[in-house]
């Protein structure tokens, strides 16, 4: 299996160019699908590699439950990197599994709490809460719901309100929470995948903006709704280093909506920056998958041969 077992741990770097370019150049729907799929495959391969390294590493430890044959001289000769990498893989894999469990638990907890908070209300698709603080959320669940406060509605005119509801309905109808959970788990599985999480968080918002623009028939109305709600909710500004901060997601969304509509093309032409980046990410993903598969098969064959029957 050799050096191939390490490749899936670093190949996520090949996705960085597409993470940056896709959010600007691809249709947000295509960008969300592409980046989430790439992140998911990279994360699975990277975790598989850690697991393989762990099997080799654990076989060296005294008192482990694995068959004695797995730590034979022959196996050690065939599988290099068993000393340091194998032992380092054990805490790394435990950390990955713990972080992913925390993410899933937190999602479940917040959804349950939100559902419970709204328990006394009639079962309508939109829950309007009397609260001056302006916010709006799409709550996926057994019954999908949009939660919006009177404070938020008061600051928008009727076209902007329709845009807001269309945006939240798009989140629910397109199951955006699944994409978001996928990239969050991926970012925990391999820190190199964090830029993909940031990119997908943005592209799902853009996707919902574009769907809302189609539903209400006006990109301007959506742009105004997004801009004005952001100015209303600005109570707690995000801490940034003045002068170094790139433009935040909200102004970029408004600027994109005020510009021309994105092309519906799914896959970009090859000989452009975004095309090359997309192919780079696709090849990185394939290489990562092949490397993990290669390492897995090799290890299974070696260990099968070394297992006393």
């Amino acid at each position: 299996m050799g050096v191939f077992v390490f490749l899936p741990l670093v190949l996520p770097l090949t996705a960085w160019p597409i993470a940056r370019l896709a959010e600007q150049r691809l249709h947000p729907r295509a960008a969300t699908w592409l980046l989430s799929a790439v992140a998911g495959v990279f994360a699975v391969c990277s975790t598989l590699s850690l697991a393989l390294l762990m099997v080799v590493g654990t076989a060296q430890l005294p008192g482990n439950p694995l068959p004695d044959g797995w730590s034979d001289e022959e196996v050690r000769d065939t599988v290099p990197y068993d000393e340091v990498a194998g032992k380092a893989a054990i805490p790394a894999l435990i950390a990955v599994l713990a972080a992913c469990t925390r993410v899933v638990r937190r999602h479940q907890r917040v959804r349950r709490q939100a559902e419970r908070a709204l328990a006394g209300l009639p079962a309508t698709p939109v829950a309007v809460l009397p609260d001056e603080s302006p916010y709006a959320y799409a709550l996926p669940g057994r019954r999908d719901r949009i939660v919006v406060t009177t404070g938020m509605l008061a600051g928008l005119d009727s076209a902007e309100r329709r845009a807001l509801f269309a945006h939240e309905r798009a989140h629910l109808a397109r199951r955006h929470h699944r994409f978001l959970l996928t990239v969050q788990l991926a970012a925990r599985a391999n820190p190199f995948l964090r830029p993909l999480r940031t990119a997908v968080t943005y592209t799902t918002e853009r996707w919902a903006d574009e769907e809302a623009a189609q539903a209400v028939g006006s990109r301007r109305a959506v742009a105004l709704a997004v801009g004005r709600s952001a100015l209303m909710s600005r109570g707690a500004p995000v801490a940034t280093l003045a002068g170094f901060a790139a433009m935040g997601p909200v102004p970029r969304r408004v600027a994109a909506l005020l510009g021309p509509a994105p092309a519906g093309r799914i896959w970009p032409p090859v000989f452009t920056a975004v095309g090359l980046a997309a192919w780079g990410a696709a090849m990185g993903t394939t290489a990562s998958a092949l490397s993990s598969a290669n390492s897995a098969v090799t290890l299974v064959l070696i260990l099968h041969a070394a297992t006393p029957v």
């Binding site: 917040v110 419970r116 908070a117 742009a223 801009g227 709600s229």
Partner: protein, 127 residues
Amino acid sequence: MRDQKRGRRRGQGELEVQVLAALREAPEPVGTGWVRERLGGTLAHTTVITILTRLLAKGAVTREKAGRAFLWTPTADESGLAALRMRRVLDGESDREAVLASFVTGLSPQDEQVLRGLLGRAREAEE
């Protein structure tokens, strides 16, 4: 065991709504006993007090001293209570954008400036 615990907790949330609904039917500020009777008298006296105290902490009811007991008055309706609970859920999540997709996220001071410029141009273009 775990399911039991979860069921009990959800039960308390529903009890809060029931107690608040009962209070809202009262013609005047009422005592704990009135609320307990209104809910069928199956709940323990202390349970009703616990729930009323929790509603007080959420700002959904007020109370006044009348002799040795308290008289309770509702200030929020069911949707008001839901709003209070939702706020608590949201305030309890330090990084709620990680869990719930919000319509908009926070703005940095520069973002705000850029955004005002964009919106101003969009309005001019309309006129």
